[in-house]
Amino acid sequence: MTEYEAIIGLETHIQLNTTTKIFCSCKADSWFDPPNTNICPVCTGLPGALPTLNKAVVEKAVLLAKAMHANLLPLSYFARKNYFYPDLPKGYQISQYDKPIAVGGFLDMPMNPANGQSYIRHITIDNMHLEEDAGKTRNEPGRRLIDFNRCGVPLIEMVTGPDLRSADEAAQYLIRLRQLLRWLGISEADMEKAHLRCDANVSIRPKGASHLNPKTEIKNVNSIDAVKEAIGKEIERQTNEMEAGHKIETWTLEWDEDAGVLRKMRSKETEADYRYFREPDLLAIRMTDEWRNAILEGFPELPLERRARFIEDYGLPEYDAEILTGERSLSDYFETTVKTYKGDPKRVSNWIMNDILRMVNEAGKPAYELKLTPAFLAEIIQLVDSGTINTSTGKNLLGKVETSGRAPSKIVEEEGLAKVSDDSAIREVCAKIMAASPNETASYKAGKVTLIGWFVGQVMKEMRGKADPQIARKIMEEMLSQ
């Protein structure tokens, strides 16, 4: 059997998280609102209404362009994409065509296959278009319901080159894109809520060949798992077809999530003619240096760069660096803690990965919103390091600080949580335990020295964990051997 490779390109639509729509002042997010409540003459295409550009949309696009190494065009234009559909109230979509906001770009995506060599996949971006979303149509028996709320919600269309080579890579690209969009704060990037939509173009060819075979387009894939599964199935189908000597036809396929199967929507013999022309109702977007610089002021270090730096600068294992840079506020949290703590970054990483992540997930809020600030976490780790408290007290403190918002050292002091290293206090307890346990004392003295663990445990129990177990052991041994 011939060995095949898959050629995959992804067309993504990214819903930007602006307050208002792209061409009017209606609220952009209608997720919780009843149909047709966030609409106006502009987004419902009433006669005479005109679009006016929301600058915030351009600003968010500039951030994404920078992150994707795309080139901003100094002059870009909107264009009309003409077609009829009931949820497209103007009969054309305002999009971009020959002069989009940005062209080119790439993402170097690290791949770490479970059973194989790590590698970098270089994914090219053709261009980025700004456009308005259409409404939603719901077909019911005998009637068609239209919700115009989504009309005019800002989207960026970003299309990759045919650079992905497996379903895993496609899924990984979406994971990286989602991470990036949230990192930049430009989209909620929730695929289930259609903030991030993806159509996949899939073809296969014998490994090593350089030609491109006819491709199919998979639509309606609404989660990263679905993308992976749908592409996997399509590669399998195309492979079987080719092996059987059949030609691949350029179909449009729809992913049926519930059944987990691809269905043929239509054959694509001819491309639709959208009769694009420049939108005369909007001015060109003039991307001046001043504007671009103002937008890019304070542009953040990107997740993959930060991941690499954490490995390099802090000596973190790749696994730790990946998790800590999964989300921007968590990575900031880590780094701020490290800087305050001044000790071994891996120690901070352990605390965050073991405990802080759990707290973040349970609280359902980002790390920067925790009352347990990086400074407090650093303080707790320092208290443990210095022996003022033991590790388990430290872990208990996390919750106490988060609930009260008070400084760890204050809580330690007020609740008397500090380890007791005062000999006399420990001696007193040791004596008390020896007096209360004549049998064990006798056994120890008779040579059963392994009982020391039991004695120390009794001391710790009596002192509610505050004793330094090493000191307690030393004193207990000393007193038992007298």
Partner: protein, 531 residues
């Protein structure tokens, strides 16, 4: 017929009103009385036969909003009585071309497909005029969706007729606007100009019409024809009134990105500065027209009406006497391509702008049963649109198709650039011509007879060939009456200037009015008023 308040100028009425010599209600009633006398029945979708009596009337209106107007007039009178500022256009009767939306009133675009559309919002120019106290009498007729130069294509019949001779057309597409102002039904009217749709009917009806610089007046609420060419503008009986009206309408608008963010000058303050030292050009390319032979399609050249050329030349010599410098033989070589380029660009934009009328959301929907979506679209659009929109959709779709757009649309855009360059060259302050304005005829002929051109869409379009270059270039144009021809029909002359030079055009126009103040034709009244 004696001089009624509705025959006075806006500037004069404002003075009378402020001196409390007249009330806004009195002005309004005078206008309503005039409408009652001369307008005849308003245009409707099912007019029945057009009678001989109909043929004597003006038929400016589609929708008369008398009660709404009375409430506005009373409010103006109340403000005046209370000592409040009633606004620069207080009490002035205004008609609005029915291509602008006005909240709560039918906004039809003279098309069956929008006949039942009641707008939930008001167009920016209309709300500015009303905020300044103008009293809106109603919505006046036009060619369907503004597609025409005679008003005959309106779905609402009887269509407007020229008040000077009701057997001739009022011009178009702002025919209802020009006719209503010429007949004294209104003092001012709001029109739109995409290829000459204000200037040509103004010329035909003997009134002043201004196509402002593209972007000078907001298009928000103007039902679009060709968005890159459409300009709202004033129709008035004097340059001064037009200047006053433009001042109120013009300026940036947060609802229209293409409305220019450039301060609006005080046109009235500039008006009396005269023409001394101004350089005014005459171009041979505006004294002849090019048109396609109906059978061979070959382009033919023909001189314009000698009477019109004589009027332009007389205007030039009068302005020269007043101190202007006249520059002859200014070449405007791309003028002749204005109409072919316009044919392509305007149709592409029009076809796209008409997509939204699909029977789904508002307006007409076919009453016939439909078995699927495409069927609903087809029947609704087939029954709702008249022949002009259909022709424009067909042509627009054709020339914007992927395989033809390079050959037609993109080529037309290049021609548009060349036309713009003609103007840039002659208005260049450091160039060979350094013109302040170009003086031209507005139209190749005076008003033609009803039915004479209608049906020949190509020939009809050529009525705009001296006005369309300004739309391509985006520059301002002013048409003003310059006499009557041998058939007692008005002759219009046109002034074209550089971007945002409206105040210069108003100055020249005003000077011409003063120079011709005592001309015999100025005493003449339109036929419908001469009884």
């Amino acid at each position: 017929m004696t001089m009624n308040p509705c025959d006075q100028s806006a500037v004069e009425l404002s003075k009378l009103l402020r001196r409390k010599e007249i009330s806004a209600v009195e002005i309004l009633e005078s206008a309503l009385e005039r409408i009652d006398q001369v307008d005849g029945r308003p245009g409707t979708l099912n007019p029945g036969a057009i009678t001989d009596a109909d043929k004597q009337k003006v038929h400016s209106f589609i929708t008369l909003t008398a009660e709404r107007a009375r409430a506005q007039a009373k409010e103006v009178d109340r403000k005046l009585k209370a000592g409040e500022d009633p606004g620069a256009l207080a009490g002035i009767p205004l008609t609005v071309k029915d291509i602008f939306v006005l909240k709560g009133t039918p906004s039809t675009a003279a098309s069956k497909i929008l006949a039942n559309f009641i707008s939930p919002y008001t167009a920016t120019p209309v709300s500015r005029l009303e905020a300044a106290g103008a009293v809106t009498l109603g919505k006046v007729n036009l060619d369907e969706f503004t597609y025409g130069s005679s008003n005959e294509s309106s779905a609402f019949q009887p269509s407007p007729r020229n008040p000077w001779d009701t057997h001739t057309v009022p011009g178009g597409s702002s025919g209802g606007s020009a006719a209503s102002v010429a007949a004294g039904e209104a003092v001012l009217s709001l029109g739109t100009d995409t290829a000459g749709s204000i200037r040509q009917p103004a010329a035909f009806c003997g009134v002043v019409g201004v196509k402002p610089t593209y972007g000078r007046v907001s298009r928000y609420g103007l039902i679009a024809f060709a968005s890159s060419l459409d300009c709202p503008g004033p129709v008035a009986r004097s340059v001064e009134d037009a200047a006053l009206m433009l001042k109120v309408m013009a300026g940036a608008d947060p609802s229209d990105d293409t409305a220019a963010n450039i301060p609006v000058p005080d046109y009235l303050a500039e008006l009396e500065k005269g023409v001394k030292g101004l350089r005014i050009g005459l171009s041979p390319d505006y004294f002849r027209i090019t048109y396609p032979d109906p059978t061979s399609g070959e382009l033919l050249m023909q001189a314009i009406s000698p009477e019109i050329e004589a009027s332009v030349r007389r205007a030039a010599s009068l302005l020269k006497e007043m101190g202007a410098e006249i520059i002859e033989d200014v070449p405007m070589p791309n003028t002749r391509y204005g109409i072919p380029a316009y044919f392509v660009i305007s149709r592409v934009e029009a076809a796209s702008n008409l997509h939204r009328y699909d029977g789904v959301k508002y307006g007409f929907r076919t009453p016939e049963p439909t078995h699927e979506l495409r069927d609903l679209y087809k029947k609704t659009r087939a029954q709702g649109f008249g022949p002009q929109p259909k022709l424009r959709i067909l042509m627009g779709m054709y020339v914007s198709a992927a395989q033809y757009s390079e050959q037609y649309y993109n080529r037309a855009l290049k021609v548009r650039t060349l036309i713009r360059r003609d103007f840039d060259t002659v208005f260049d302050k450091n160039g060979a011509y350094r013109l302040d304005a170009l003086l031209t005829p507005t139209t190749p002929t005076t008003a033609f007879e009803m039915g004479a051109v209608y049906g020949d869409s190509v020939l009809m379009q050529y009525a705009d060939q001296l006005t369309v270059p300004a739309n391509h270039a985006g520059i301002p144009g002013l048409s003003l009456p310059a006499g009557l021809d041998s058939k007692r029909l008005p002759i219009g002359i046109q002034l074209l200037g550089a971007d945002f030079s409206e105040s210069v055009l108003f100055r020249i126009g005003r000077a011409f009015e003063q120079a011709t103040e005592t001309d015999a034709w100025r005493k003449e009244k339109p036929g419908v008023l001469a009884s």
